[in-house]
């Protein structure tokens, strides 16, 4: 394994799902997907719903295997559950019977980190996201934004070199979203993992990413890649005023709109967007 290996590499990956009913055709979710995420790079995956974005993350996490092609993490083929990556799902998936700090310590516990160090590292990150004072609260006693912060630091606390995030801010209100995007940028800059970030929100993708990969409708193929050259650190709250933002946004939106239009099999005269 050379040090220059990409953090994540997809090479001609296909993924078909076999439906439960015997008669039904298998569903081709991904078709000939090839891309890399380099060390320390923040890569967003965008595209219409059902185009296989979550499936890509599941492949890197080893929760499902490709039907054909190769998925590599740090130069090694992913086979079986990949515990060397962090996975932040859309639902916060906190354990309801564990306090906030108990949840944040989970990954360290599984790695056999001794209790005092667990406590210290968990507290440090809980502090960064402003949740000190809530360590002993249970998930149902926290707001949606607090739970989301908890699920993010729970994954970052054990320092993986790749972090997968599946629409993490989807269910949040607009203000909380932007605040959490800014917090995520800070957290990411502390340890600089590679991030594969799935989102529906193009502004969010531009604000956070180094590169954006646009998927087509199912079967998902890669339609285009965009490099985001806006200087860092970025002012997330005023990202739309940054020079270069509008052009990028318009180009992305044109791509996505074409895909949404295709999915809806546009009727003559139908207005889209």
């Amino acid at each position: 394994m050379s040090t220059s290996a990409p953090a994540v590499r997809f090479q001609s990956v296909y993924k078909a799902f076999i439906a439960r009913e015997r008669a039904a055709q298998p569903i081709l979710a991904l078709e000939d997907i090839s891309f890399v995420a380099n060390p320390g790079e923040f890569v967003s995956l965008v595209g219409p719903s059902g185009c296989g974005k979550s499936t890509c993350l599941n492949l890197v996490a080893g929760l499902t295997a490709p039907s054909a092609g190769l998925v590599e993490h740090q130069g090694a083929r992913v086979s079986g559950v990949n515990t060397k990556v962090g996975y932040i799902t859309q639902d916060d998936n906190l354990l309801p019977w564990r306090s906030l700090v108990g949840n944040v310590e989970l990954g360290l516990e599984f790695r056999g980190v001794p209790a005092p160090e667990r406590r210290r590292r968990a507290r440090e990150l809980i502090d960064v996201v402003g949740l000190i004072g809530f360590e002993h609260h249970y998930p149902h006693e926290l707001s949606g934004g607090m739970r989301k912060r908890a699920s993010i630091v729970r994954t970052l606390v054990y320092d993986t070199d790749v972090v997968l995030m599946d629409e993490p801010f989807g269910p949040l209100d607009a203000q909380t979203r932007v605040i959490l995007q800014a917090e995520l940028q800070n957290l990411w800059q502390r340890s600089r993992p590679s991030v594969l970030f799935v989102t529906h929100d193009l502004v969010e993708a531009i604000a956070l990413s180094d590169r954006i990969i646009v998927f087509t409708n199912r079967p998902g193929t890669i339609k285009r890649e965009y490099r985001v050259d806006l200087p860092r650190p970025r002012d997330i709250f005023h990202i739309h005023e940054t020079p270069g933002f509008s052009d990028l946004y318009d180009a992305l939106w044109a791509d996505i709109r074409a895909e949404i239009g295709a999915a809806h099999a546009p009727v003559a005269g139908e207005r889209i967007a």
């Binding site: 080893g62 929760l63 515990t83 962090g86 996975y87 354990l95 990954g107 054990y158």
Partner: protein
């Protein structure tokens, strides 16, 4: 409005709300007591006008019979015998149900292979086995213990399996990616998530264990509450038969209350529903 005034308004509203809740509760409690007392009075004084009280006895006679049975020591002796059988059978049933479910869940495909046989076993009305068990194990406590255990085992088993299988797949996946191995996943996620369902099954099966033990006693026995009822029936002593039934029901109710209280303390976050 000043802060004090606002506080007073809120306090007043809260007070009114509390009074309404208390009043509602008082009405319900009065209803419960009234219904029970009414039924007993009707039984005692009016039922005889409709049917022959020789066949149904009266609450006072039943109470007298309970006192008499208690006085000559037979109530305590027989209750102890039954309670012993029920407790042992219940613990065996719960233990095997839990252990069996966990073993099968840890294995690959084990549950799928055994499922049709378990469902076949479930369709046997267990009480129909009582005569067979008596033939095999004799008149002593063994058939009672076995039948009580059989009545409990399957309910605990199936609810443990169902509870663990109902746990959100993505929760399990996330924890596995976080680095939990199989046993750790079971301990950290699956069991706590299924705990309310398991606890509820463990609570409701005590009554079933009692049914199993008493039924086996009714078939053939020399002691126990079922024996007491059976003996009374041979002597056509209706009041003593009812006395036995009342004592059995009281034991089940008390134990249920105790288990339910323990359950609320252990699993405050959920109350489970029971299958089977």
């Amino acid at each position: 409005m000043t802060a004090d005034a606002a506080g007073a308004v809120v306090a007043g509203a809260v007070d009114r709300q509390r009074r309404t809740v208390r009043a509602d509760r008082a009405i319900v409690s009065a209803g419960i007591v009234g219904l029970g007392v009414g039924a007993l009075l009707f039984w005692q004084f009016a039922l005889g006008l409709i049917i022959d009280t020789r066949y149904v006895s009266t609450p006072l006679e039943i109470a007298r019979s309970i006192v008499a049975l208690a006085a000559d020591g037979s109530l305590l002796r027989n209750a102890q015998a039954t309670l012993g059988e029920v407790t042992i059978g219940y613990l065996i049933g719960v233990g095997i149900g839990l252990a069996g479910a966990l073993l099968l869940l840890m294995s690959t495909g084990g549950y799928e292979i055994l499922e049709p046989y378990l469902l076949a076993f479930y369709s046997i009305p267990k009480i129909a086995l009582a005569p067979l068990l008596t033939m095999w194990f004799g008149l002593g406590p063994t058939p009672k213990v076995v039948l009580a255990a059989l009545m409990v085992f399957f309910i605990v088993f199936i609810n443990t399996v169902a509870g663990v299988r109902a746990v959100d797949r993505s929760l399990v996946d996330v924890v596995r990616v976080m680095g939990a191995r199989r046993l750790t996943t079971l301990r950290v996620v699956l069991l706590p998530a299924a705990a309310p369902a398991i606890a509820a099954a463990i609570r409701v099966t005590f009554a079933r264990a009692m049914v199993g033990a008493v039924l086996a006693e009714l078939i053939a026995s020399s002691e126990g509450l079922g024996y007491l009822v059976m003996r009374a029936s041979r002597q056509f002593d209706i009041a003593s038969m009812f006395a036995g039934v009342v004592v059995i029901a009281s034991i089940v109710m008390v134990v249920n209350l105790v288990i339910a209280a323990a359950e609320r303390r252990l699993f405050p976050w959920a109350s489970g529903t029971v299958h089977g």
